[in-house]
Amino acid sequence: MPAAAATPVMADLRLVLPEVILALVATALLAGGFVGVGKNRARLLAGMALGGLVVAFLALWPGYRELTGAEGNNMMGLFSQMLVADRFGLFFRATFIAVAAMVVMYSTRYVEQHNLPAAEFYSLVLFAAVGMMLMAGSIELITIYIGLELTSISSYILAGLMRNDPKSNEAAIKYFLTGSIASAVFLFGISLLYGLTGTTNLVAMWMVDPSATAVTGPAWNVLMAVASVFILGGLGFKVAAVPFHMWAPDTYEGAPTPVTGFFSVGPKGAAFAALLRIFPLGIVLLSTRWIGIMTVVAVITMTLGNLSALLQTNVKRMLAYSSIAQAGYILVGFAAAAGGGAGGVMFYVVAYAFINLGVFAVILHLSTHGQGETVESFNGLAQRSPAIAAAMVVFLLGLIGVPFTSGFFAKFYIFGAAVNAGLAWLAVVMAVNSAVSVGYYYVIVRNMYLVQPPEGSGKLAVTPGLAVTITVATLMTLALGLASQPVIGWISSSAGM
């Protein structure tokens, strides 16, 4: 499946319009820091960022037309194959634009309250989104690496934006130091792959004949194994898979809350997209050994994440471990690649994105009223904000994987893939883990419904941005659970990649 021949620059540009628009808006936002004053400025900038994201989303249309048109192009190489337009990429790029839009919407009040630099905040979210889209929209390791760095560096800065809070500083420093080492490890893996195959293009790599390269025989396998371990290590750090998860709890706790929500779905989803590109395509020869590694990593990631989450009282820390556990479930999809796990990973990433952003929007709702740090701050939320408490229940059910939510279909999809791939025991481990996770998710539900609110607390007012985010997240969680057919259809047409 070599990509189509190169097309003129303008035609290519049409298909990466969303990235171009977002980069331009992000740059303009930096200048926007000088416009207006006080609250108005922050709101103006948020509106600008949101507008840019909406336009970027609409600008996905030419690519959609091209891929679904009569000619039925599968994969179009753009700009000398540095980027590609395909169904897989379009799926993730649309998801990442939606994620960034929700992050911008739910952050507005927090940015005002905590006096964060609004222009830089929204600009960095957009730049990170561009990096994520480049990672998903490329089959070229160099572009994937640059996208990864654009996302990572924006993330390091976002984590440390609360400069007077030592925890935020700690979050940024830890994320930065460990993250740059992970990037270097990833790059080293790429250099080994390049040395072996003589190309950084994943499709070209896929077509390399091992017997015709400088390294042959068993040595090829050894070096490929080493290279894939390095790449898995580098990207495993970004998705916080055990044993590369050490940074996650501290960073998630210390970073500004909207940023934590963004980390848990954005850069993580992009790293999963990159893994999906690299492993099935580039390292196809190693798939048997890779399944073993992925299985082990998946099992320890979900088990350790769930068991540690049980012990937490800080909500952000608990969600950090919960997000490690969810990454473990997604990794099962990689181990079960032979049974169609790739599609499961795609569905899981988008389902989890909306659910987790919803959870963080609820935490932000509490934080606008000076709460939201501990599980006790959920006490009596059902009386203080009934609608939001109900939405939170939907999200938590989604995280557990209860039917009629997107979380159920996501788990079901990966579960089925594991059984198909002959890894039924892995599916059982996953089910047991989901049962364990009920333990800590239930604490929040109990506190919301069965515990009386603190004395003298009335109804909590909700800001428009949060209301919209929570509504969208709830609707998407239910829609993907009840009517997932169009999404699954799109995924199965693109999982061939």
Binding site: T27, S80, M82, V130, I142, L150
Partner: protein
């Protein structure tokens, strides 16, 4: 042993030694200078590989710009010593035993480093890369420039966004408040 091999061994030894000294130096400025030295000796290895453009870039960017900026940053901060004199006992035996126990210079990092080095050496030897004939000395600068602005134009342009983000980050994280 050819002259090239001799140069390579010397440069590799300098790189490794100065790399160790970056973490082992007591004064942070010394660590910065050792890092510059390791950058320069890596540039020497690039020259041995006939990659003269990379060597020049390595010297200009790493040994020149990066090392200088690090030294500037040290001058602007209050940190001088990684370890104070008080931590350093006078006798050579005592100092050695302290070094062995310290996390930064002691046995553990050396052991980890040696294990990693041996593992990679084993992999490389087992792989038995064919020793390609030395490529003829050509003007790599022109072809690198051509590739950067044609094939690799997209990553090259995105790198500019990356630099912009890094610059914004440096400013926003260090600017003095209450202007």
């Amino acid at each position: 042993m050819s002259v090239q091999m001799g140069f390579f061994i010397a440069l590799a030894a300098i790189t490794l030694w100065s790399g160790y000294m970056v973490v082992a130096a007591r004064l942070i400025t010394h660590a910065a200078f050792y890092m510059a030295l390791s950058f320069v000796s890596v540039a020497g290895i690039f020259i041995l590989l006939n990659a003269e453009f990379l060597a020049a870039a390595q010297v200009l960017i790493y040994a020149g710009a990066v090392a200088t900026i690090i030294i500037f940053a040290i001058m602007l901060s209050n940190v001088r010593e990684i370890r104070s004199d008080a931590d350093c006992p006078p006798g050579i035996i005592q100092r050695l035993s302290l070094n062995l126990r310290s996390e930064r210079l002691g046995i553990l990092p050396v052991v980890v480093g040696v294990i990693f080095g041996l593992a990679m050496a084993y992999v490389y030897l087992k792989a038995g890369w064919t020793t390609n004939a030395q490529p003829a000395f050509t003007n790599t600068t022109a072809s690198i420039g051509q590739e950067l602005f044609t094939t690799y134009a997209v990553p090259f342009e995105v790198a500019s966004l990356l630099l912009l983000v890094a610059m914004v980050g440096a400013i926003i994280l260090t600017i003095k408040e209450g202007k």
